[in-house]
């Protein structure tokens, strides 16, 4: 569903991502773990068709993100922790706008918006301008935006950044429901606890390369430690 094949991005002599290959199947959550500057966002942007790779291929639902970014965007929901909203629109207007950009009919947008507003408990603020919303309310609006067109694949770039524990939990529950609905989910985070709780597999990134991968329990067992955080630190120490 989501696939990277020898994906590479260079800025001059710097490799932001080097020879990255992995696959995320339907109903699977794969975590992309790494410290700041490891190349997580670059990889996700290449998969989303926002950045052009220097080499390799990024496929979403079999469509190449370089040659057909337009089709890739139709099949993808993208959410990041720093995604901003239009301050002078209300969440309901934001959803209508993105629904139309995705080519949905107005009545379909209205029905899906009503369902998402209900599921994500947005009723209290759905008609208030985004400028007046809290960080949690904004992120709920963003989740609704990413889920609105019912994409088969989701890319979530550190989506819990700046969220309180209640909203963060809420988001993780939404991701679990999406997995149950058969969506392929690529999830980047540097919060090891989240990855451990949610991901079927994780990819450890360092210096733009994948340095290890496997199920959280496998990685812990290989490193001889109890938590994913410790396993990650041990792997980084070994590389240093």
């Amino acid at each position: 569903m989501l696939e990277a094949i020898a994906l590479t991005k260079r800025y001059g002599a710097v490799h932001a991502a080097a020879d990255i290959s992995f696959r995320v199947g339907a109903g699977e959550v794969v975590g992309l773990l790494g410290p700041n500057g490891a190349g997580k966002t670059t990889i996700l942007r290449m998969l989303a068709g926002i950045l052009t790779p220097t080499g390799g291929r990024a496929l979403v639902d079999g469509v190449d993100a370089t040659t057909d970014p337009f089709e890739v965007k139709r099949r993808l929901g993208f959410l990041s922790g720093d995604t901003a909203l239009y301050q002078r629109l209300t969440p309901r207007e934001v959803l209508r706008y993105f629904g139309r950009l995705h080519g949905l009919a107005d009545d379909a947008i209205a029905a899906r918006t009503a369902r998402l507003v209900d599921e994500l408990r947005m009723g209290d603020f759905a008609d208030r301008r985004c400028a007046a919303l809290s960080a949690g309310q904004k992120q709920k609006t963003n989740i609704a935006r990413a889920f609105l067109h019912d994409p088969p694949a989701l890319i979530l770039d550190e989506p819990t950044t700046a969220l309180d524990i209640v909203t963060g939990r809420f988001l993780l529950d939404a991701i679990s429901r999406a997995r149950a609905a058969g969506k392929a989910i690529l999830f980047s985070t540097h919060v090891m606890g989240e990855a451990e709780a949610l991901c079927d597999r994780v990819l450890l990134l360092h210096g733009g390369r994948i340095v290890d991968e496997g199920a959280p329990a496998e990685l812990c067992a290989r490193a001889g430690v109890r938590t994913l955080g410790e396993a990650f630190l041990r792997r980084i120490d070994a590389l240093s």
């Binding site: 926002i50 337009f70 965007k73 993808l76």
Partner: protein
């Protein structure tokens, strides 16, 4: 490009723009409140000050002895107050120094220096030269000088009349020749002339300032607020995004400009009325509407420029720093209306910005020729399209969108990979460049200098074929694919033959239908016939063959193959036909050539061979040339039966060239 998406983006941007208090303030509140307040306040103060100056009695210093009768008359006339009576200084320099001291100390407003024999001269009916010593940089001193001068003129005229009466001389004795001026321009025309010089600069300035905030807000502002990444994740093509935002900026500039013009017009007409001069601003609803229509091309171009620079900037602040040079770039050519002798003419009609300024002036003064209005509008649409193409390219540049460090190379660098045929943007840019090159290039190809054949060779080979080939080479595209250098299928060839024999009838039919709607068209056609009529067989062959090769290389080559990459055949055919038509720059010919262009584009695209366009074009031009020299052929072509036969052949040809689904 999907118009439903453009409409969605436009609608959302418009809602956001109208919800932004800063923009609303700049668009409406500022002009509606500030202009009347400023102009009316300024007008009141100026009028009050002018009135005051007219009544204040000038305070003077008199060097020497002023004749009593003159002093009494000046006192009676303007209330002259003698503040100092001083002996005449020994030299003029000493008089000037003393007068300057008195004026600088505000003791007097001016000094009058009289000759020692003033009384004797007057007694002998001679003239007396008074020297007025005043400061031209002081309002008070200048005003006093003007009042004394005016009064002295009046007194002098009365004295002259008295002397003539005493000596029984005729009225014209002291004035053998007199020029009596009568201005043929009405007060409204004079008002329009003054407004026409100043208004364009103001209008262009207003459009830039009204479009400025929305343009930055929708581009650099969106980057800064972090919403651009959200938008880039949606399935929207760069050109759709740019078009939606562009329409918002155009609407904002136009609404802002209309509000400003209304407020300014109201305030100016009140001020002019208050001054009571023999001028009329001549602003009425029809004039206002015509002016509003005239500023649409300006809004189209300036909005595109503003959006392009806004997209390029990484932040709101950076965008503002780009806008100051842009304002200068706009205002300097806009001042063309202030340069004596510069008018809207064929040579200025394509000069960016200056042509807009001259167009607005021409429209206000009612002197703009219709043909040039059309040329300026086409040119500005073309420039706006080029600016939008640039903006769309920027929207695809990740270094710019993600605020990278080396955006210039990404935007202006050549494509890294060679392509088979040009991109749609490349094709649009080529059409704009070709328009300018062909327009100005044709001015240098004077048939009187180089002969008719020479002119055709220079125009077609130098200004069409060479640019097309060079453009394709520079774009690193395949010449074979770009220029469709291949033979058609047998069925296609049969279709081309039918269209070659009958295609002219389409142009003929359209021309007949449109001729009554365009009064200038017949004169234009006669002018063309006069130009080509004297040509020999060589000229006739050149007219038939050269455009069939050179113009086809441009429009059914670079433009058609480039626009075909948009993925929509209709865009390619209509776009290339429009580009071909607009190059004719005369409304009637634009329409007839565009219709012929549709036929040429359809045939070339369907058969995949440039031969289709070239042969139909050659036959069309060749027949016209034959008809020009042989009235019998002309009559035959104009006969309804011949036209019907031509149309029938065209219909068969269209069916034959139509590509069958694979």
């Amino acid at each position: 490009m999907r118009w439903s998406i453009v409409r969605t983006i436009f609608g959302k941007e418009l809602v956001e723009t109208l919800r932004d208090r800063r923009t609303l303030f700049a668009m409406f509140a500022l002009p509606v409140l500030l202009h009347p307040l400023l102009f009316l306040a300024l007008g009141r103060v100026t009028a009050a000050e002018t009135q005051k100056r007219k009544t204040i009695a000038p305070r003077v210093a008199i060097f020497g002895a002023m004749p009593r009768a003159l002093e009494d008359r000046l006192t009676a006339e303007i209330g002259l107050t003698v503040a100092a009576r001083l002996p005449a200084p020994p030299t003029p320099e000493a008089a000037a120094a003393e007068a300057r001291r008195l004026v600088d100390a505000h003791t007097v407003d001016l000094a009058l220096l009289l000759p020692p024999d003033a009384d004797a001269r007057l007694a002998a009916d001679d003239g007396v030269a008074l020297t007025a010593l005043f400061s031209s940089v002081s309002d008070v001193s200048r005003g006093a000088h003007a009042r004394v001068a005016k009064a002295l003129d009046k007194i002098s005229a009365e004295e002259l009349a008295a002397r003539r009466a005493r000596r029984k001389l005729p009225d014209g004795f002291a004035e053998p020749y007199r020029l009596v001026d009568e201005d043929l321009a009405s007060s409204r025309m004079r008002g329009a002339e003054i407004a026409g010089r100043a208004l364009p600069v103001i209008v262009l300035f207003v459009i830039v300032t009204c479009g400025l905030l929305p343009a930055i807000d929708l581009t650099a502002g969106e980057k800064e607020r972090g919403t651009l990444q959200t938008l880039l994740c949606a399935p929207v093509r760069p050109l759709e995004l740019v078009a939606g935002k562009y329409l918002t900026v155009v609407v904002a500039s136009l609404i802002g400009a209309a509000a400003n013009l209304l407020a300014m017009g109201f305030a100016l007409s009140r001020q002019i009325a208050a001054l009571g001069d023999d001028l009329e601003l001549g602003l009425s609803l029809p004039t206002g509407l015509v002016l509003f229509v005239a500023i649409i091309p300006a809004a189209l171009l300036l909005s595109a420029l503003l959006l392009g620079l806004g997209v390029f900037a990484r932040s709101f602040r950076e965008a503002q720093s780009y806008m100051t040079p842009l304002l200068l770039v706009v205002l300097v050519p806009a001042m063309a209306t202030l340069v004596p002798g510069v008018e809207l003419s064929p040579s200025t009609a394509l000069v960016p910005i200056a042509n807009l300024s001259l167009l607005i002036r021409g429209v206000v003064a009612g002197t703009a020729p219709t043909q040039l209005v059309f040329v300026v509008t086409v040119a500005n649409l073309a420039y706006a399209a080029a600016a939008l193409v640039f903006t769309a390219r920027v929207f695809e540049t990740e270094q710019v969108l993600l605020s990278g460090e080396s955006p210039w190379r990404d935007v202006f660098g050549r494509a890294a990979r060679a392509r088979v045929t040009p991109t749609p943007r490349n094709a649009i840019l080529f059409s704009v460049v070709l328009l300018v090159v062909a327009y100005y290039g044709s001015m240098f190809a004077d048939p009187k200098r180089v002969g008719l054949l020479g002119m055709l060779l220079v125009l077609q080979l130098g200004l069409f074929l060479a640019p097309a080939v060079l453009w394709a080479l520079a774009s690193r595209v395949s010449l074979r694919e770009t220029f469709s250098l291949r033979l058609p299928s047998l069925r296609g060839a049969a279709g081309i033959l039918c269209l070659t024999l009958g295609g002219w009838a389409v142009g003929e039919l359209v021309a007949r239908a449109l001729l009554p709607l365009f009064p200038g068209a017949r004169a234009y056609a006669e002018e063309l016939a006069r130009l080509l009529g004297p040509g020999d067989a060589k000229v006739a062959i050149a007219v038939a063959l050269l455009p069939a090769v050179a113009e086809e290389a441009c429009f059914r080559g670079v433009v058609l193959s480039g626009l075909a990459n948009s993925g929509r055949r209709s865009v390619a055919i209509v776009g290339s036909a429009l580009a071909f038509g607009l190059l004719h720059l005369q409304p009637f010919h634009v329409l007839t050539a565009s219709v012929t262009g549709l036929l040429l584009g359809w045939a070339t695209l369907e058969t995949g061979s440039i031969l289709a366009g070239a042969l139909i074009h050659a036959a069309n031009n060749g027949l016209r040339m034959i008809a020009l020299h042989h009235p019998a052929v002309e009559q035959a072509l104009a006969h309804p039966a011949t036209i019907a036969a031509g149309l029938a052949l065209t219909a068969i040809g269209l069916l034959l060239v139509r590509r069958r689904p694979a």
